[in-house]
Structures are given as structure tokens and as C-alpha cells.
């Protein structure tokens, strides 16, 4: 049988390569100073999906929620081997915290129809919450396995995966459909030349409309272009809040109880150094000290 694997990914600011000021005066992220990249652990999730495709045969659908420019990460996913892409985009989704995001993604997942697996990266490097994957599973009433390193077995009605736990690993079995969050445990494959040459033409309808309406390069016939790309399977589907039947009160700012009050750059400076003797007394003294300042206990 062939499986359907849905991978949710995110376009994030590249926090490793900051140029200029990363924060604006109002405490929000200055996206102009940060190049947008494919969230690293989402690449691991995509790689795992593609490995399952290689091993068992699967259709890999990649979805993201974001502004129109987020179509870039979807194209990147197509370059690497994804079969379909969909962009959840609507001004109404803007300003979402993890609760509103996971709700929006759950609406999109329902729209996709029957899926056997949903894969997410463990966490995104901009928020680092690791909440969206688990919340999404809850909303879809799906079992979840988090911190997955590897899928050991995929069968008609079950999946066996190995996940990292503190100090080791754990092997879990779950019925399908199931949601996995994936950690940095594989080497994401690079984009493939032939797929680049094909899928570089893949666009959302809004991108086509924007291109066509350009007074210098536009050719005025968006419909014809959309039709041509549709025939070649090169349209990246766009879904609005309405299209996925999302409740306006549960998405975007409106659906987000989390409010950022202030953002502070905390610089941890090195304090005094203390030498602990590697003896029973030395360690006892350290433990007592840590209990006294509530680091332990």
C-alpha cells in the first residue's frame, strides 16, 4: 500500500546568520535583517518522510502556514522530493501563537483528507517552543511520538519509531494515523538538480497574478498561465482561513492568548569560579549548596 505523509514545515529567520539588528525597537523580530530559511528540524522531518517514501512508497505532501513568500520553502521541499505542496496563507492567520497555529494547521490537515502520518520538526529556531506538533496531534485526536530519531517499521496499521529520551532512547509503537515530531537525527538530502529544473516553475496563484500584473514583465494573461501550470502539476495550492473552515476567533491574533510583553536580550556573563574537590566531602558540600539555592530539590 502507499501511504500519505503530511509534513508541516516553517520558514524561519536564520538566527545563525544575523545581519544588522535582529530586533526592532518595538520588540518584534526584524525580518529584513534575517535571511529566511527552511527551519532545520523541519528538514529532518521532510527527510524522514522521503526515506519512508523510498522504503515503503508514500505520497509526501508538504504544508506550511505563512506569508506568500513562504512558498519558497515549499519549492525547496519539492526540489528535495516532496510530491505536493500547500500554503496556508491569509492575513487572518497573522500573529498566531502556538495554540492558534496548531488550530490552523489542524484545519489544513483535515482539508488534506486521509493521512497516515503527520511529521513536524521538533521545534522552530525562532520560537523554540516545541509545542505546535504536540498541540496539533491533540487537536486531531491523534497519537503522537515526539523526539523521533528513526522509524523502524511502518506497516498497514502501525508505526514503530525510536525516540530520544534523556540518557537514552525508547522504542514506541503506535497505530496509524499518528503524528511524529522529528529531531536532528538524519542528514537531509540536498535539492536534486532535475527536480530544481522542473519545480522552480511551481508557483501559487497569487505569485502568478503578481507576476502577471507587473507592468514591465507581465503578460496580462494570468488564467492561461495558471492553466498551463495546472496541467503540469506545478501549482502550489493556497488555502485561506475560509477554505479550511477555520473559526475566525481561533486563528491569528484573535486566537492567541500568548502576548509578548517585552523582549530582553539577556547576556550571561561569567561569574566567579569555584573549585570543587573530587571527594565525598566536596560533592556533599556542592549538593547542599545547590539545594540551599533551590537549583536542586
Amino acid at each position: 500500500m502507499s501511504y500519505t505523509v503530511l509534513v508541516f514545515v516553517k520558514q524561519v529567520p536564520d538566527t545563525q546568520n544575523i545581519t544588522g539588528e535582529a530586533m526592532k525597537a518595538d520588540g518584534t523580530v526584524n525580518r529584513a535583517a534575517l535571511p529566511a530559511i527552511f527551519n532545520p528540524e523541519d528538514l529532518n522531518a521532510l527527510e524522514l518522510a522521503l526515506q519512508l517514501k523510498d522504503r515503503y512508497g508514500a505520497k509526501v505532501v508538504v504544508g506550511t502556514m505563512g506569508p506568500p513568500a513562504a512558498a519558497d520553502v515549499l519549492r525547496d521541499a519539492l526540489f528535495r522530493g516532496a510530491d505536493e505542496a500547500l500554503l496556508l496563507t491569509d492575513r487572518a492567520f497573522a500573529g498566531a501563537d502556538t495554540l492558534a497555529t496548531s488550530y490552523a494547521l489542524s484545519c489544513a490537515a483535515k482539508k488534506v483528507g486521509k493521512v497516515d502520518l503527520i511529521l513536524c520538526g521538533r521545534q522552530a529556531i525562532d520560537g523554540d517552543t516545541a509545542q505546535v506538533g504536540p498541540q496539533l496531534a491533540e487537536k486531531l485526536k491523534m497519537p503522537q511520538i515526539c523526539y523521533v530519531e528513526e522509524v523502524l517499521e511502518l506497516a498497514e496499521n502501525k508505526i514503530v519509531a525510536r525516540r530520544a529520551i534523556e540518557g537514552g532512547y525508547e522504542i514506541l509503537e503506535s497505530p496509524l494515523p499518528c503524528l511524529l515530531t522529528v529531531i536532528d537525527s538524519n542528514d537531509p538530502r540536498p535539492p536534486a538538480a532535475k527536480r530544481i529544473m522542473k519545480y522552480k516553475r511551481a508557483m501559487t496563484k497569487s505569485e502568478i497574478n503578481k507576476k502577471v500584473s507587473d507592468p514591465y514583465t507581465g503578460n496580462a494573461d494570468a488564467d492561461a498561465e495558471i492553466k498551463a501550470l495546472e496541467a503540469k502539476g506545478l501549482i502550489i495550492a493556497e488555502l485561506t482561513a475560509e477554505a479550511v473552515n477555520a473559526d475566525p476567533a481561533r486563528i491569528g491574533m484573535a486566537g492567541s492568548p500568548t502576548k509578548v510583553k517585552a523582549i530582553q536580550s539577556v547576556v550571561l556573563a561569567g561569574g566567579e569560579a569555584k573549585k570543587i574537590e573530587p571527594t565525598t566531602e566536596g560533592i556533599n558540600a556542592l549538593i547542599h549548596e545547590l539545594i540551599a539555592d533551590h537549583t536542586l530539590g
Binding site: N17, D187, R189, P190, P191, A192, A193, K194, R195, I196, M197, K198, K200, K232
Partner: protein
Amino acid sequence: MANFYTDNRDLVFTLKNLDLEEAVTMKEENFRFAKEFENAPVDYADACDNYDRVLKVVGEICAERIAPRSRQVDEEGPHFENGVVTYHPLTVQNLKDLTQADVMGVVLPHRYGGLNFPATIYTAITEMVSRADASLQNLVGLQDIAETICEFGSEEQRQAYLPRFAKGEIDGSMDLTEPDSGSDLQSVRLRAYQDKDGNWFLNGMKRFITNGCAKCHLVLARSEEGTTDGRGLSMFIAEACPQLVVRRIEHKLGIHGVATAELQYNDVPAQLCGQRRRGLTRYVMSLMNGARVAISAQALGIAEAAYFEAKKYASEREQFKKSIDNFPAIYDMLSSMKMKILASRALLYETTRAVDLRNAYNALVEKGENVTDEIRAKQKYYNKVAAVLTPMCKAQATEVANSVAYDTIQIHGGTGYMKDFNAERFYRDARITNIYEGTTQLQIVAAIGGVQQRDNDPRIKELIALVPPAELAEIKASVVKMYEKHLKEVEFVNGLHDPEYRDLVARALVENETYVFVSLLMLRDAAKEDDRVVLAKRYILDAIPEFEKRYIRIMSGEHSVVADHSAVINY
């Protein structure tokens, strides 16, 4: 993300300014493939966009994945036990990355699963892979075997091998050298014979075979009993099998990551590739010409890697209270290294452009539809130009790689002599480039005829007709003067009708041709970007005394080496 394409300003400039439209349009057959293959380009701009995107992907793989693995690959290398070669796990990973990136059949036609890219873009990939890990290039570059099968094999052979090469399922080797046949391939002895049903078998030994453990071998063998020269040799395709025994792998100075094997053929079943008797004269010469371009790019990649380390070290190492790149002795070395690299790259891509046009016209004539006299004339012209530029380019780039790697150790001082730094690895890796696929001495033999017959003159005249930036007018005048003197020295040697003297000064003549030619390329490029004015100036000012030295030597007609060498050598 580090990227060996986007961080290399000269490479980006060179590819951007190289006009490949004619060659690409021909290779894509007026872009008619776009109807059939969804990844084929619809026009020239689309093709260039493809090249740029793919080069960026490969540039990132090279910088982020392959280069960090290269030291361990060099230290540990492949493993040989019980006749089986096992590549280093990191080498295997490198090949997997490049296979997944779809660059194992770069120049192969669309219909066999290739990218149908021109040789120029393939060369840029070669250069970047070599900069990351020179030894890996020997494996990646063996996709040339597929190209040769594509050019000379039967349709059946193409179907059987090319798609598997493009998918990275099989690898190749070119089995030419034997214990007694190195530079002199005409004396190859490995025997090819037929049974009564006409099936071919191979018997004999091959030595120094890069990736001799490959699945698909192109073998030069003596098919015509009783012959002793090149015309008795044919080319065969053989697959790895129990009768093809890897006897040992060599312990080499450099390129440790790739296995170099000694092979024993014990009645190995084989297929004839192309026509009998044309093995060396046509097919292997063509294969080697392609490989010579690739080795030039490999050398350039090593030089680039070495230069990068030298520059970095010189800017970080402090002596006498300042970083050593502040001392004239050091910055002069660095700028001279850099100029050698730029000169090699200018000549390399001028060569690949000629190679692409040659291949395109050859294919057109081969096809045989509407072949006009003009097309035939162009075919002839580009064959001649590629034939002289290829050995010129290999001689230059590989000697440059050695000199740049040498200077990189020098700039590192004692540190460079230690295994802890990459400098010594580049030095070892560079050392093979001016030996294999024909030593520099043989490149001179291959180039001298074209220099004597002035095969580059039409192109030189085109370049002279270009107008340089105003501030380089005087410099250009001295290049033109250099060219006139060069014509004089060529005429002088031609007029002597003395083959021994010609051979004696051949290297000086070819090098002077290179100085003139590259000077003109540097002037051409200076007109396209302001920052390149100083580069042209630097190159030409350095070239003039080098040229003069050789000119004096050539024009002296000084014969004493011929007469005295034995007395000198044997003293």
C-alpha cells in the same frame, strides 16, 4: 551557509560573462527538448538559471558537507581486503550526497536521465568538488566514462549503461595504463580475442587504474593479433566479475580517498565499443581530452583551496607584532598565487567554451542533416582550437596548482610542514595533476603543433580587436608587442626545420603562447568589470619578463644542450 560557488567571485564572474548561447542552443537542439522533458530549459536564459541554481546547490554541498570530511578521508582512505575495495564511509556519503543532488550524469542527454549541461558547467562542478576533496573528484569525474559510451557506443550500450550512471547506480574506470605502457599507449598489450561465436574476452594486466574496482570498465586492448602499434587497439566495455581481479591497491603520495588498482583480466567477457582499431586513435584520445580538461579543473580546485588557507593563515599569523600578510615578501606571494589562479581559470573556461562548441558542431555534423560548408568549417575550427587549448590549459593549471600549494606551505612556515594543517595535503594532492592524463611534458607535445600552425590566431585577433579600458591602453600595446615577438619566435623555430631544437624549446613556446593568450583574456575581462583592471595590469606586468626570458632562449638558437647533455648528466 558556506558555498564554494557563491564565495568564489572569479568563478561567478567567469561563468556569467562566458557566452555559451551558441553551444547551449545547439546542445538543447533549439530548446525543443522542453516539450518532451519537464526539466529541460525553454530558452537560453532559462538554461542559465538552471546552471546557476545547480551550481549553488553543489557549491553548498562541497563547502558544508564534503570539505569538512576531507581530512579524515585523506588520513584513512579506502580499505582493501581479499580482493575487495571498500571506500571510506565518508567517501560513500559524499557520493550519496552528489547522487541525490543529481550530478552524476551532468553532460548526458536528457533521454538517458542526464542534465544535458555543457562541459563548461560540468567543469565548474569539477572545480568545486576538487576544492572540497581532490580525491573525490576522481570518482565523480569518472562519469566521463558514460560520456564516452554515449559518444561512441551503440544505442543498445547507451541504454544499458547511461541511465545507471546518471542515477549513480554504477561507477566507471578507464583502464589504459599497463606496467610497460604509460605515456606510450600505442604499446598496450592486454589481449582481446573472440570465441567461435564472436564473443569478446580480455586477458592481461592493467596498472595504476583509478577506481579499478568500478562496476563498468572502458578497456583499451589489442584486438588485432600480430599488430604492435596504436592501430591494433580497440576499446571494450567490461563489467566487474569474478574473472576481473583487483590484485592490489597502491599506496600513493596524495589523492588518498580514491583507490588506484592493479587489475588482472582472466578471460573477462567484454563488448566492443565503437569500431575495431579505433580504440586509441579516436576513442581514447577523445576520452583523454575530456579528462585533461577535468584534471585542469581538479588542479584549479586544489589551488583555490590552498590559496584560501594561505590567505587565511597569513592574515591570522602574527610575527614582529603584525600579521604576516603585511610584509611585502608575503603579500607579493599571495598576489602572485591569486593571479596564477585567475589566469588558469580564464584559460580553462576559454577552453571549455571551445570544447562545448566543438562537441556541438561534431554532433551536428554526425547527425548529417543540412550540413553546410559553413558548419563544416566551424566544426574543423573548433576541433583545432580545442585540441591546442586543452593541453595548454592542462599544462598551465596543473603546474600552477603545484606552485600555489608549494607557496601555501611556505606561507605557513613550519606549521605547513605538519600534518595538523591542510597545506601539506594540498601539496600532495596537487602533485599528481601534472602527471596523470599525460604529464606536462606530453601536454607540450600535444600543444606544440597547434602553436606552430597558429591555430589560436583567429581567436587572438578577435581578442586584440576588443577595446580595453582607457587606463590599460599602454599595457595593451605591450601585449600586442609581445604577440608580434611571439609570431617571430614561432617563425624562427619553424624555419629551422630542426625537430630536436623544436622539442627543446617547445615548452617555452607553448608557455609564451599562454602568456599572450591569457593577457588578452585578462584585458577582455577588465573591460567588463572595473575591479578587474588591476588584475589585468598585474598579470601582464608579471608576464612580460617571463615572456622575454623565454623569447631570448628560443631566439638564441642555442643548441648546446643537445650536444652536451650526456656529458653534463653523466659527470
